[in-house]
């Protein structure tokens, strides 16, 4: 798989894929073909897909790097990995709650404007 294909598949750009690699997010740097081009495996693509999900949920690059390091270190980091994800999970839930609460104010304001608009017309 070429970098362009992985980009296509994951929605990231080739630039970003190289950036992620530099940032230490890959389990191992993808091997190169004779021409020096990266050749990604299916497993790489799956891993990158997972990264995009973690990223989309607001996990910082630094935490993703820590996670990648744990995965690289193998089976005896299951507990640490689980803890890392649980911490992230708590962050996400807190964020959702925060958004929900802020949404109330927005809704309230919208309501207010609705009534004012009604009152005028």
């Amino acid at each position: 798989m070429t970098i362009a294909q992985v980009a296509q598949r994951t929605g990231l750009t080739a630039h970003t894929l190289r950036y992620y690699e530099r940032a230490g997010l890959m389990l191992e740097p993808p091997p190169r073909g004779d021409n020096g081009h990266r050749r990604y495996t299916e497993r790489d693509a799956d891993w990158i897909a997972l990264l995009t999900r973690l990223r989309a949920s607001g996990m910082p690059i630094a935490a993703m790097r820590r996670y990648a390091e744990l995965v690289r270190r193998g089976r005896d980091t299951y507990v640490a990995r689980k803890e890392l994800l649980e911490a992230h999970r708590a962050d996400v839930i807190a964020k959702i709650e925060q958004l929900r609460s802020d949404l109330e104010i927005v809704d309230h304001k919208i309501d207010l404007y609705s009534r004012r608009i009604m009152g005028e017309e």
Copy 2:
């Protein structure tokens, strides 16, 4: 009210309050005392509190500026204000949905590790 008091109350720093003012987020620049210091009114503090809620819900500074402009322009912008907030509301809801969906993957992974840890011990 001094800038420090408003900072205290809103959780922003004095630096940020001045930045918001420069960014055009205030309804009007707070008047100054004889010493040239800003003197905020209760209404200013309320407005800033609203800004922090909008900000916390992810509204960009630029959108907050547009909203402030509408408020400054007075009563005949109710519809536009409502539309702006409704657009923001849709953004927030979409974000919440996105987070919820990403959370599923995280939960799934946590589950996986739980079972692996169990299996090993």
